[in-house]
């Protein structure tokens, strides 16, 4: 019947999703380590349409292909580096991540095309934190606090992990701890490395996620991976470093987010107009065709 009626309805739903994503970006313009999301839309699968009994020998003849709608398929996080600002706090850490991969030059969006024409995304560095169940989560929000047990925790209480996979625990005043670019913890007064419970030097674990798009956003500034195979510890001189006394700001561009929001609203309205148009056509069909008086 009226195929376009459903296409317009699906358009309204998809634009609503896009509006939700833009609003969430706007909500997080001040959230440290937040990564903006973009909505990716996809058309419904195409169908071949045929006219019945109009072809030779009463067979159906093809009219053409038609896709009957659109849906918001995925929210693509934008893993570009946020601005790094100084806070002066010893427990504020920012990760500056620009991981180099041999033979590839990444553009500003972190994308590179190989010689075979394959698109590759730049690996990203994250702090590894453990939640209450001991599961590993990844975050770029490096605003830590030190709790009474000496553990370094995020704003929602997730514990920062060291290179040995155990939560970092420091005994001395955090203001006396100096953290090097590789995440090694030193005593600011003596310059000696701090040692953990197992006698090894305390070093913050920096995890490199090979395919950042496989990360799933969980909220509270953290992401998780369904398949932990794509994670490895940062190697030396790879292009990521820890900056103590700084935080990474949100990478949301408020202007872009506002424009996205306005576009989504007007597209939603346009789809509504199409639905009204169909409604009027149907009204004609029902009430006016075959009308005698």
């Amino acid at each position: 019947m009226m195929r376009g009626l459903y296409a317009a309805a699906s358009g309204m739903i998809a634009q609503q999703r896009k509006h939700d994503a833009a609003t969430n970006n706007i909500a997080n313009v001040n959230t440290p380590g937040y990564k903006a999301v973009n909505t990716v839309m996809r058309t419904f699968p195409e169908a071949l349409i045929r006219a019945i009994r109009t072809g030779e020998n009463g067979r159906s003849a093809p009219i053409g292909r038609l896709a009957t709608g659109v849906f918001a398929e995925e929210y693509l996080p934008l893993f570009v580096q946020g601005d790094v600002t100084a806070t002066g706090r010893a427990t504020d850490l920012a990760l500056v991540s620009n991981i180099r991969v041999d033979g590839l030059a990444f553009d500003a969006a972190g994308r590179a095309v190989t010689a075979d024409g394959e698109t590759v995304w730049q690996p990203q560095a994250f702090f590894a934190v453990a939640n209450a169940d001991g599961e590993v989560r990844f975050t770029r929000d490096g605003r830590f606090a030190v709790n009474e047990a000496g553990e370094w925790v995020t704003g929602s209480g997730l514990r920062l992990l060291g290179v040995n996979g155990q939560p970092i625990r420091t005994a001395i005043d955090p203001a006396d701890i100096q953290i090097t670019a590789t995440g090694l913890m030193l005593d600011r007064n003596t310059g000696e490395p701090l040692v953990g419970d197992d006698g090894a030097n305390l070093q913050i674990l920096i995890s490199v996620v090979e395919q950042p798009y496989s990360l799933i956003r969980e909220g509270n500034g953290v992401f998780y991976l369904d398949n932990p195979a794509g994670v490895r510890p940062l190697a030396a001189d790879e292009g990521a470093e820890v900056k103590q006394g700084y935080t990474e700001k949100s990478n949301v561009d408020p202007l872009q987010a506002t424009v996205d929001m306005m576009t989504a609203l007007r597209m939603y309205e346009a789809n509504q107009q199409v639905i009204q148009m169909y409604d009027r056509i149907l009204e004609r069909t029902v009430n006016d065709i075959g009308k005698l008086f």
């Binding site: 939700d20 009474e148 005043d173 798009y213 369904d226 506002t258 609203l265």
Partner: protein, 293 residues
């Protein structure tokens, strides 16, 4: 459906709280020994919508749609950086250099061993060294060193510093208290002020009246001892720490007007953006309502 509206509403609430925090900092621009509070945002828990398991070609993320729900205020912390010093000339106005605090005994009614209510002193810390001599209320007319609220300043033995009325009290750079009673010709060493260094600054809570303390469960003497250090400047080598007591000076507030105003503008604009998003989602609902002409 209405994620956008909830999102914007929740975030405006969080921004309002940040605005309250800034207002409080600004109100204490001239409060002696005031330490500014700082907070940050965290993106809120994401609801993860399952999608059909078949990943379509070209899709980059796993087949779930994580929908965020705004931002919340988190990580409210004290900024313990030092304020500027002002000379007052009053010998009982004390300012501290270095990251230590005076200990004050806040009177509280507790259940005594004999079951009768009695008054005990609960420790709290302050950087506000505007002290004075206040009557103890005993028959001899003794006075004690007290802060502006009348709470006793504690010495190294955690006892109030009680001296006969009419005495001259002076404090040297090491925190030693010298007393010259009316009968004496020369001031004599009486006691030493208790200087405390907190090693878990992130856990400090503002108690009002310029006093700070750990949460009640961490103020138990055994726990407190592990989270604080007592600094006695009379020990050899202590002069290298940079800690000193300055008589005749007061420490001003560490609120910086420019920083707070910049933050205020930032938060106000974020609030406006979210209000726009709210209006936009309202418009969307109105459009949906007008579907039937």
């Amino acid at each position: 459906m209405n994620h956008s509206m909830i999102n914007a509403g929740v975030t405006m609430n969080s921004l309002q709280r940040k605005l309250d925090l800034i207002a409080n900092n600004l109100a204490n621009l001239n409060t002696t020994g005031y330490k500014r509070q700082d907070a940050t945002f965290d993106d809120l828990l994401t609801s993860i919508k399952a999608q059909q398991n078949k990943t379509l070609p070209g899709r980059l993320t796993p087949s779930v749609l994580p929908i965020g729900s705004g931002a919340r205020l988190t990580g409210i912390k004290l900024d313990l950086s030092e304020g500027s010093l002002t000379a007052t000339g009053n010998p009982l106005d004390l300012a501290l250099q270095g990251d230590v605090m005076f200990e004050i005994g806040v009177p509280a009614v507790v259940q005594g061993e004999d079951g009768e209510p009695q008054i005990a002193h609960e420790a709290a810390w302050t950087r506000n060294g505007a002290f004075r001599l206040s009557p103890v209320g005993d028959e001899d007319g003794n006075v004690m060193l007290a802060n502006a609220s009348g709470y006793p300043v504690l010495d190294v033995g955690s006892a109030p510093i009680v001296v006969p009325a009419g005495s001259d009290v002076t404090v040297d750079g090491l925190g030693n208290v010298y007393v010259k009673t009316p009968e004496q010709d020369e001031p004599a060493l009486y006691t030493t002020l208790k200087l405390v260094r907190v090693t878990r600054a992130d856990l400090l809570e503002a108690k009002g009246e310029g006093l700070y303390a750990y949460p009640a469960e961490l103020m138990e003497p055994a726990v407190r001892a592990t989270l604080t250090e007592e600094i006695d400047l009379n020990f050899p080598g202590a002069e290298q720490s940079g800690i000193a007591v300055l008589s005749g000076h007061l420490e001003g507030s560490n609120v910086d007007l420019i920083t707070e105003m910049t933050e205020l503008i930032n938060v106000q604009r974020a609030y406006q953006l979210n209000a726009r998003a709210l209006a936009s989602s309202d418009e969307m609902m109105s459009i949906a309502n007008r579907l039937r002409g």
